[in-house]
Structures are given as C-alpha cells and as structure tokens.
C-alpha cells in the first residue's frame, strides 16, 4: 500500500478538489486520484480511496492503512499547501495535516467548541482560514505551528471560502436560510463588509480572471409542504477584486458542486444532472451534459486532457462509485470508493 502511494504521489505539482478547485495552467500527467469519502455522520467511517489512472489500481482506506487509526467523522474537504494536505474532518472538529505523498500524519489541528470545520484556504504563507459551520466563524490557522491563532465571527453557518488578494470571501449558507457573503481583510483578520447574494450560498470558486463563482443552492422551502420547493438555485459571478456582482442567473433545482475547466470557458455544475455553462456568455449550454445524478464532482487536468469525475454515493450506506468522463461527456472508467464519495483530489506530475 505504502509503495503504491509513493508511486502515486512522488512529484505532486497540481491540486484540484471538487469544492475548492483552483484551476492551474500547468500541463502535466495525471498520476493519482484521491477520493475523499465522507462516510456516515457519527459512524466515523470516512476514508480515502486512491486510484491510479494508469494501472487502474484502486486502494481503499489509505489514511487508515498508513496511520493505523480512522481519519475521523465526515471527511469534508482537502486543500494542498506546499507539500502537505490539510484534510478537514468536519464532525471530528479537526484538520489532519498529512504528507501529500504518503498521507502520513504530521499534525492534528483541533477546532474548539465543536465548531464543525468545512473548508480551508491558504491566505498567506503562514496563515490559512477554515470555515466553521456551527461555530458561525472562521478559525485562523497558523501554518507554522499548526495551531489555531484566533477566530473571526462571520455570518450564519459558513461553508465555502475563496481568497483573492487580501480578501477572503466566506459564503454563509444559514443551512438554507442564508444569503450573504462575509468579506474578511486577510491582513487584519477583520470583517470588512458583508455582501448580499442569492439564497443558500455554498461553494465559491475563483477562476483565472479572479472572478468568483458562487453556487447559491436556493432555499429548501417548507419541509412540511410537499409543494414548496423553495427558491431555485442560482449562480452568482462576482468580481473578486471589488466584490461587485458581475451577473447572476438561475440554474433551477438545488445545485451542488461546480468545477471550471482550465480554459475558463466552460463550467460544469452538478444539479440532478451535470450541466455545462458557458463562462463568458453565462448561458446553460447543455442541461444534461451528463445525464446522471452525482453526489460530488471533480475536474482533473493533465497532458492527456481534462476529465470530469463524478462521485456516486449510491444509497449512502455502502461503497460508492467514482466515474470518469471525457469532456465530451463520454464515460471512460469507474472504480469503487468508500462510503459517500464527497470530494476529489488530483495529483499530476
């Protein structure tokens, strides 16, 4: 197992995840895929599946195999910083810092008060922010000491985070009832302003033009009224430098992950199906680009091309499935994952 991992991640140059995809212009060869499996909440069966696209070899439970202990409860997201991965384990209220090649544990950053961390983003060489869903806050992570240096109060139930210059944008989902973005000045760690956007903002992604793509999932409506579907999902596109709204448009339903291709011309949105969106005209190109419902979506880039990866959670109680597609929409391959494949991490050399 360990040899395999070393082989997979010997020279990582590029990272992309479903939730905080930072599209790189690097053109390299995809040599490894990590699937972050959330696992069932409170059952602590989160795991990491490793997949080698060349050999088609699949290895389950990579973190546990390497470190001898479960990773924790609900593995929510991963962020690469330097030669480390920061694995945000939501319901264990911690961030596992691991070597990005071997997954060997380096440190554990505990988030106090059971704040429920969700997404982490680097804001400087020595500092990162992590959103805390139930803490209604952002924790300031010292990347040198792996300790929490402070907390910044934000809106209700923050989820996503994206950084442009000295501004960190935090989406406040309000668990379906929010409609704001908190903007933090990363040099002072103070809230500079709060923006109002669509209902239930979740993930927020920066493109190469410093535009921010915000997925507003839409309010869920009254659970007691079967005819009340809430408000439709929207995409807001913001100017990352100023925070001003460039445009917003309805996509319907309650969308999930959004990924951007490396040419910044087409976005792919999970919304019951996978739909494709023109990033310049903001038109929906194909509402059933992939006519399949996924739980997560990732996009990898390499010399061999770009690929879409869908995570199928099946019945949320047994092993899921990761499915690889060409950008033409043609299915290429699939492999089993752990329980609830919730995010992807790609390495390339």
């Amino acid at each position: 197992m360990r040899k395999n991992l070393l082989y997979l991640f010997t020279a990582l140059l590029f990272v992309s995840t479903a939730c905080d995809s930072n599209n790189s212009e690097s053109k390299v060869t995809l040599n490894g895929v990590f699937v972050l499996n959330e696992g069932n909440i409170t059952r602590t069966n989160a795991s990491i599946t490793a997949y080698n696209p060349e050999t088609k070899e699949v290895s389950q439970n990579q973190y546990e195999n390497e470190n001898g202990v479960p990773i924790g409860d609900v593995l929510n997201s991963v962020t690469e910083i330097g030669d480390r991965l920061y694995l945000v384990v939501n319901n264990s209220h911690k961030i596992e810092v691991v070597d990005k090649e071997s997954l060997t544990k380096i440190a554990t950053i505990r988030i106090a008060n059971e704040a429920s961390p969700r997404q982490l983003a680097k804001v400087s060489d020595s500092k990162a922010y992590v959103t805390n869903l139930y803490g209604n806050s952002v924790s300031i992570i010292n990347l040198e000491t792996n300790e929490v240096d402070g907390t910044i109060a934000v809106g209700a139930n923050p989820e996503g985070i994206a950084v442009v210059g000295e501004k960190a944008y935090i989406t406040n989902s309000g668990l379906g009832n929010g409609n704001t973005i908190t903007v933090i000045n990363t040099s002072t760690d103070e809230v500079s302003t709060t923006l109002t956007i669509g209902d239930n903002p979740s993930s927020i992604i920066k493109d190469d033009s410093n535009r921010l793509w915000v997925v507003c999932v839409g309010a869920y409506g009254d659970w007691n009224d079967p005819d009340d579907n809430g408000t439709p999902g929207e995409i807001y596109v913001l100017n990352g430098s100023t925070g001003e709204t460039i445009t917003n448009f309805e996509v319907g339903g309650h969308p999930g992950d959004l990924v951007l291709n490396d040419r910044d011309d087409i976005a792919y949105l999970m919304n019951g199906t996978v739909m494709s969106i023109d990033m310049n005209s903001f038109d929906i190109l194909n509402s059933t680009f992939i006519n399949r419902n996924f739980y997560s979506l990732g996009l990898s880039t390499s010399d061999d091309g770009q690929f879409l990866w869908g995570g199928d959670a099946k019945n949320f109680a047994q092993a899921g499935l990761a499915v690889q597609y060409e950008l033409s929409g043609a299915k290429i391959d699939s492999f089993p994952t752990g329980i609830i494949p919730g995010a992807f991490y790609f390495s390339a050399e």
């Binding site: 409170t42 059952r43 602590t44 069966n45 389950q60 439970n61 202990v69 479960p70 924790g72 409860d73 319901n91 264990s92 209220h93 008060n113 059971e114 429920s116 139930y134 659970w223 007691n224 309650h254 019951g272 419902n293 739980y295 959670a313 099946k314 019945n315 949320f316 109680a317 047994q318 092993a319 499935l321 752990g338 329980i339």
Partner: protein, 631 residues
C-alpha cells in the same frame, strides 16, 4: 446531592436474602402465566421459547440497566453505546424498533421512535422480566421481532432500603415498602441514581487512556401500587414514574458532544379480574404520558415531544373443559403526539380483536392457534395469525415446541410524519416467522434444563430511510430481509454438601441478511446486517454457601460489521468480558443486612459494542441493603 445520608440511620435494621433466592425463585417462575404469549401453561409447555429473568437474577444485576441484565442472561444482543447512552435490544437480527417491550402487558415502545431505550430502565424497577425471542403479532399486535415483558410487583411484607456506591461517582439509592391491610396491599418503591459516568477507557483517537466526558446520567424511578383481592376478584392499580436527565456522549472521533436529553414517563395501569362461571374476565385501563426533550446547543437543535396514550383491554377466557381454553382479547389504543417537529398533533387510533385457543388434545400434545385483527386509522387492517404446538415426548422431561406466525410492525410516527422525509404512504413491515425447538428438563437424567431452538424469519416491506429522487432521505418500504439461526439455553443446579452450585448459559448463532437487491448493483445482498453478531455467548456460575454467594459472569460476542456492505470496513473485533460478584447477608431478628460487591470487566478488556463508543474498563459497585419483614 447524594442520597447516602438518607439511609445511614437505618443501619440497625437488617435483612435481605436475595442471594438465597438464586435457585428457588428461578424454578418457581416457570409456573406463572407467560405474559408474552398469554398462554396459561408452564414454560416447558409453551409453543415458543421463553426465558425468564426472575427477581434473583435481577437482584444479581443490581445497579445495571435492563439492557445489561438482558445481555447477561439471554440471547439478546444489546447494542449499547456505553453506560448511560442509548441501549437497544436486538433479537435474532432485528432492531430496536422491531422489538416489542411490554410493561404489565401494555406496549411501551416510543410512538415517535418506535423503540425503548433500555439504558433508561433500571433492573430494580422490575420483579421479573420475560424474554420471548419469537413472539407473534397475534398476541400483542405491532412488532415483528421478539418481546420483552416487564413486570413490577412490589412485595407486601417488607421494607427495604439500600445504597450503592461505585466507580465513576455512581450513587444509587433505592428502597421499597409494602404493607398488607385486610384485602388490601399497598406498595411504594423507587430508585435514585446519579452517575458522573466519567469512566476510564482506551481512546482509539488519542491512543491513550482517557476519562469519558459528557456522559453524566441521572435517573429516578418511582412506583406506587395498590392491590385488592377477595373471593377470586382482583384489582390492582400500578403507577410508574420515570425521570431521566442525561448527557449524550458521542463516539470518540466526534468529540465529547454537547447534546443532552430529558425523558419523563408517567404510566398508570388499572386492572380488574374476576371469574363468572367458566369465564375469567380481565379489564385493563392504561394511561401514559411520555416526554422527551433532546437539546444540542452546538447545532441549535431542540426536539420536544409529548406523547399520550390511552389503552383499554378486555380479556375473557372461557374454560370449556380442561382441554380447551378459548381467550378473546378486545383492545383499543389511542396515541397522540405533540412535538415541535410536526406541524400538528398526530393521532393513531387502533382497535384490535384477538382470539386464541389452548387445545390440550392429550396430556402430551398442546395446540395453540391464534388470530388477531388490528385496525389502524392511518393504514387500515392487518391480520396476524399464528399456530403453535408443544408435544411432551416424555412428559415434563423432554418436549418439542414449534410456532409459525405472520407478523407486522406499524410505521413509527417519525416514519410517517417527520417533515424531512416522512412518508404517510408507508405500509407496515411484515414478517413470516418459524421456530422449532427441543427441550429437556433436569428431571430427565439430571443433566439440567436445556432448550435448542431453530428459527427463521422472512421480512418484507422493511422500512428504511433511503435517498429519494432529490437525494434527501425518505422512509420507504423497500427492504427484504432473511434471518435464521439457533439458540441454546441451559441451566443446572447442583448441591455438594453445604455448597449450592448453579450454572446457566445462553448461546446463539444468527445469520441476518438483506436477501433481495434494492437497486442495481446493491452490494449488501447476503452480507451480515450491521451490528448483528453471528455468535453470542453469555454464562453465569454461582456458588452459595450459607449466607455467602459468589458469581462469575462471562459474555462473549463475536465480530460485528458496522456497515451494511461488510467489506467496506474491517469488522469490529469480538470481545469477552467477565464480571464477578460477592455478597454476604446476615439476619438479626426480622432484619437482614446484605453487603454486595460487583466487579465489572475483571480483566480490563478494551472493548466496544458499537464502534468507537468505548465501554468502561474495570469498575466496581458496592451495595448495602437492609430489609425488614413487616408481618
């Protein structure tokens, strides 16, 4: 506040010979009417396996929850998150929602959740517990698994007071007083437990020994009873109040948790029995109110509910002849729930009619047909027939028994009405069950009492919360399950000079699987259901000499899977836990003083019943009891 001081002045009153009841009480219990089947024949003449935890066994489990006692003395696997945390009975592969729990013959399963948390029930509240792993819906309606019948009969001839002090700041005060006045008897009993529950355990997260946090458990119970008896007429009124306030510990990878729960239950049962000619009549009126407040400040969740029940039952048994007893049971059940989770008050009304017969065709052959019709206002009619047989190959010594039944389980209120995914179109779960056993009593060659029972259950329309079209979970009838296995119970008592030696054991094998694919590529078919161990063994050995009794208990549970697709994770390891107890009693005039010491987990086994919920390492409970006869 601790309650120890309440009992110090009573030290000069001494009694209790609970330890001396180890043998005799157990044997006597075989002669009672079996509540779980309603059949008025001894256990060895019943059509299905029944195990009784009598007052002696319950006394030996003093300070433990009902779940711990059931795990010690029966084939039930009790899925316990830890002391003070939720504890659910699992019979033959079934879950807590499918297990029927009765108090004095009235179902007490929570109407919203469908289950009974056994951690809230203290063994000291009960005088006997019946366990019938294969009981049929033809007897009590909803419930496709087995039944646990709780009995509470306070003694009319004594006063007792006691105090237990144990590890982890565990304090239990208990007492009981009963008096007989003419045709009347009056009893009052209660227990008060405060348990910090900060027990030692090995933490797989931090990889070091830790103390459990956020697991404090307070539990108070009070019972009052009035009984009247004259010329074949009997009236009783029993009141049981339970109040519990406890923190809810999380698994060690989640943290200590912030949730806590408050439970309260008020149950009042009035029954009147009399005989007119060949007909024995019985009337019951049952009123109950249950309250539950779950509060998690961290997640901003508060669930408050109040349930009310009003049940009536009229039983008439016609003794046509010594060989033919026909029993008719007409029942009504009214249940309502008010909760902040539902938009309005939800009500369930049920009318039931049951007809069952005991046909003793010969001295050796008993046949037990039964049929029950339940009408629910929310999903209509269900018909539950059963047929049982018992044949005494050698009368009172060797017998065979068998029962086949069609069973159902009504959807819980949450299954129907939970705002996010409740499904008001649900049908009841159904199950066809079969069991066949052979039994031997100690009268046959003196080898002890043995029973080996094979069982099988085919469940259809199983209710499971599963992702719907919009990926949100919804309750659906889509599970098909198969459960089969074997249970072996044995007990034996020997006497060597001044020593009494008794031994009992229960061994079970259970295979429980999903037997039909629920969707394309369902990888869980034929895998063992989560938290259903294939093998379970529990045994107890007691040695008594005079006023001293010592016992050793062993409980072995094979590996369990925590996921429905077994290969996703390694199984949870098997565990073997040994407990021991030592007690001494001495009589002073009419007063008996007993001292008892329980040592649990003797060998410091690091184990988890449910994955990542560690159980306590070695711990103790010291108990002083004083009893005095009142007549």
């Amino acid at each position: 506040m601790r309650f120890l001081s309440l009992f110090v002045p009573a030290l000069f009153l001494l009694n209790v010979n609970a330890v001396a009841q180890v043998v005799s009480d157990t044997l006597q219990m075989k002669e009672i009417t079996v509540t779980t089947t309603r059949y008025r024949v001894p256990i060895i003449k019943q059509p299905s396996l029944t195990v009784v935890l009598d007052s002696a066994r319950l006394a030996n489990s003093h300070g433990q929850s009902l779940g711990e006692a059931l795990s010690r003395y029966s084939s039930i696997f009790v899925r316990s998150n830890a002391p003070g945390a939720i504890s659910i009975a699992s019979f033959r592969g079934f879950g807590g929602e499918q297990t029927r729990v009765l108090w004095e013959g009235m179902p007490i399963n929570h109407s919203m959740l469908g289950l009974v948390d056994l951690s809230l029930l203290n063994t000291s509240s009960f005088s006997a517990v019946e366990v019938n792993p294969g009981s049929a819906s033809s007897t009590y309606g909803s419930g496709i698994s087995g039944s646990v019948a709780l009995k509470s009969s306070l003694r009319a001839d004594q006063i007792s007071l006691g105090q237990s002090v144990g590890s982890n700041s565990n304090f239990i005060s208990f007492g009981e007083a009963g008096f007989g006045i003419g045709n009347w008897t009056i009893g009052l009993g209660g227990s008060f437990q405060q348990n910090e529950n900060d027990y030692r355990y090995f933490d797989r997260n931090t990889e070091q020994e830790e103390h459990r946090r956020h697991a404090e458990f307070d539990n108070n119970q009070l019972q009052a009873q009035v009984r009247w008896q004259k010329e074949g007429k009997r009236f009783s009124s029993k009141f049981w109040h339970l109040k519990s306030d406890h923190e809810i510990p999380e698994n060690v990878f989640v943290g200590s948790g912030t949730a806590r729960q408050y439970d309260a239950a008020y149950r009042w049962l009035n029954s009147f029995n009399f005989r007119r000619g060949k007909v024995q009549h019985g009337f019951k009126v049952y009123l109950a109110q249950t309250e539950l407040d779950y509060f998690d400040p961290n997640r901003g969740i508060e669930s408050i509910s109040t349930g009310r029940e009003w049940n009536t039952e009229w039983t008439s048994s016609i003794y046509f002849s010594p060989k033919f007893l026909l029993t008719n049971v007409a029942s009504t059940y009214y249940t309502e729930v008010e909760t902040n989770n539902y938009t309005e008050k939800k009500v369930r009304r049920t009318v039931s009619e049951q007809l069952q017969a005991e046909l003793n065709l010969t001295n050796r052959l008993g046949v037990f047909p039964s049929i029950r019709l339940d009408h629910y206002n929310d999903f209509g009619l269900t018909l539950s027939p059963s047929l049982g047989v018992n044949y005494q190959i050698i009368e009172e010594e060797v017998y065979v028994q068998s029962q086949v039944s069609r069973n159902f389980r009504a959807p819980t209120f949450n299954d129907l009405y939970w705002p996010q995914g409740g499904n008001s179109e649900l049908d009841p779960e159904t199950a066809v069950k079969f069991e066949a056993g052979v039994g031997i009593t100690d009268q046959w060659k003196g080898i002890g009492d043995h029973n080996i029972t094979l069982f099988r259950a085919d469940i259809s329309n199983g209710i499971r919360w599963t992702p719907g079209s919009s990926s949100s979970f919804q309750a659906q009838n889509y599970l098909s399950l198969l459960s089969y296995g074997v249970e072996w119970t044995a007990s034996k008592t020997l006497r060597f000079d001044a020593f009494d030696l008794s031994y009992s054991q229960s061994t079970s094998y259970t295979r429980a699987t999903i037997d039909e694919a629920r969707f394309s590529g369902d990888a869980a078919v034929n895998d063992q259901l989560p938290y259903v161990p294939k093998w379970k063994y529990s045994g107890a050995v007691s040695i008594q000499k005079g006023n001293i009794v010592t016992s050793i208990y062993g409980n072995w549970v094979s590996q369990r899977y925590s996921t429905e697709q077994n290969e996703v994770r390694d199984p949870e390891p098997a565990y073997f836990v040994m407990d021991a107890s030592l007690s001494y009693s001495k009589l002073f005039h009419k007063t008996t003083v007993s001292l008892g010491l329980q040592l649990n987990n003797l060998f410091d086994e690091q184990y988890e019943v449910v994955r990542l919920y560690p159980q306590p390492l070695r711990n103790f409970l010291f108990t002083l009891t004083i009893k005095q006869k009142t007549n």
